[in-house]
């Protein structure tokens, strides 16, 4: 096993602008974020010898940036592709394939400028195209959310209780200048927002935004020489389950095994317990995904996640601060939000978040990809063990 804290993040940045950025393509947003991350780390392309990106031709991107990598990765599993790439980068650095990796992402999700997503569940002749997407026209709000009604009935979670998740995240976003939605909201307002796919309303769905993000990771030895305090990677996990038949492809839809698998690996490799976690990000493409994350990762028992959020435990002042940027529902959501999720964890550990939680020593970040196809769990720390 790779020792906990063997690598660290030394550069991290978003694109200069996020939200609506019609003057940049997906590639432009990625390059802007990469330039910002190199500036954050105080290095240039020549200092980087490993490169990953998702959704773009990897060699095209590295050449544009003037990086000539000895190691590259282009794992694409949807919205958490950059989680998987960071895990792979940690392993590559530990193996000695390279010493410093740049991970880049950009997506013109709102303005749709330039290259689109190469992760396409609807490819002709694919499983999703033949057996899933025709029923909804590929509308994620109607398919990704399919387990919600069953969950509500099985565990007695009312619409009002479900809606609290959107209210809590907006509470965080009110103090975040870069968040798209900053006005306080209420359960009533969430339940009066337009119905999209009963029981899911618009305020329970993520935003559609333009954004880029980039991360630079290196060995813990090298990390000490950078201007910002290192954010150590203490451990990680990842797993695949549903395929594009999701969420019908999950073996136990209310107890998805892949979440548990990823979480257990992250806890085991980092050597920490749930009580050690000061800050939590769980990718919220829709209002229910943090519920499934809290349960699958073992913060609460199955059936308790919805009530845990409804009781305010993840809101400002709660015992488990979660999605403190406002998340996909209030901050920004490009289509593949995972990089933005990771960047908020990193900002919190650095102590430079807009709505900073006090004394974040250890942060856990969990992302999804391709509906329930994939997930990954990362544990970040302000110090190495």
């Amino acid at each position: 096993m790779i020792p906990s804290g063997a690598t660290a993040i030394v550069g991290a940045a978003e694109s200069t602008e996020i939200g609506a950025v019609p003057n940049m393509s997906s590639v432009g947003l990625a390059i802007d974020a990469a330039a910002n991350a190199m500036s954050d780390a105080g290095i240039a392309a020549s200092d980087i010898d490993g490169f990953t990106c998702g959704y773009f031709p990897v060699a095209d991107m590295s050449r544009q940036l003037g990086i000539f990598p000895k190691w590259a990765d282009n794992t694409v599993v949807g919205g958490c592709s950059w989680f998987f790439q960071l895990r792979n980068a940690v392993a590559a650095i530990h193996a000695g394939y390279c010493h410093t990796v740049l991970i880049v992402y950009g997506e013109s999700g709102k303005s749709t400028r330039g290259l689109g997503q190469s992760f396409d569940a609807g490819q002709r002749g694919g499983t999703g195209q033949q057996f899933d997407m025709l029923y909804s026209g590929g509308q994620a709000a109607a398919t990704f959310t399919l387990p919600v009604l069953r969950y509500q009935r099985e565990y007695g979670l009312s619409d009002e209780e479900l809606a609290v998740g959107a209210v809590s995240q907006r509470q965080w976003a009110t103090e975040v200048p870069r968040a798209t939605l900053r006005e306080p909201t209420s359960v009533e307002e969430v339940l009066n927002s337009p119905m999209i796919a009963w029981p899911i309303r618009r305020a329970m769905c993520c935003l559609v935004s333009d954004a880029g993000g980039a991360i630079i990771v290196t060995s813990a030895d090298r990390a000490k020489d950078y201007p910002k305090p290192p954010v150590y990677i203490l451990g990680s996990g990842g797993a695949l389950e549903a395929g594009v038949m999701s969420p019908g492809g999950v073996r136990e839809p209310l107890r998805p095994e892949f979440i548990r698998t990823s979480g257990e690996a992250a806890f085991a490799s980092s050597g920490i317990t749930h009580e050690d976690i000061d800050h939590l990000m769980i990718y919220d493409a829709f209002i229910h995904t943090p519920i499934f994350g809290l349960e699958g990762l073992g913060f609460v028992n199955y059936g308790e996640g919805g009530h845990f959020i409804a009781e305010g435990h993840t809101a400002p002042g709660g015992k488990l601060p979660m999605n403190t940027s406002g998340g996909g529902l209030s901050y920004a959501h490009t289509g593949a939000y995972g990089m933005l999720c990771m960047l908020e964890s990193i900002r919190q550990v650095r102590g430079e978040a807009a709505n900073q939680v006090a004394d974040v020593e250890i942060a856990l970040c969990h992302g999804w990809g391709g509906y329930w196809s994939a997930c990954s769990t990362l544990v970040f720390g302000a110090s190495a063990p």
Partner: protein, 137 residues
Amino acid sequence: MPHPLVPVPTPETQPFWDGCQEGILRINKCLTCGSAYFPPSPICPECSSTDVEYFDASGDATLYSYTIQQKPFFLWGSEGPRSVALVKLAEGPMLTSSIVNCEQTPEALQLDMPLRATFVPFDEITVLCFEPAEQQS
């Protein structure tokens, strides 16, 4: 050129689509471990055996969960709300489908209600949907 989301069969999935044309739900069964599975594949996801075949399933199912899309995919040719459902086949597999031939309301669509397969025109092909089991077709 059909719409990109009109299903395109492959050699491995053709028997399923032929079944839809014939009004028969045809899915895979493993001859080694006995598992019925979906979507179609030349390998059993339970035991990795490639000794698999297609068989005619009962078409019986239950409603596991669903949403009601307010603006359905236009290729269905219907204006009003339309269900997208997780349906559990009597033989075991779960799949995505729609419940048709009934009101598209929470009152009409009860969890665990018995369903049966029905086959519905979709663009130039015929696809699998489900209807309440007590319904006369």
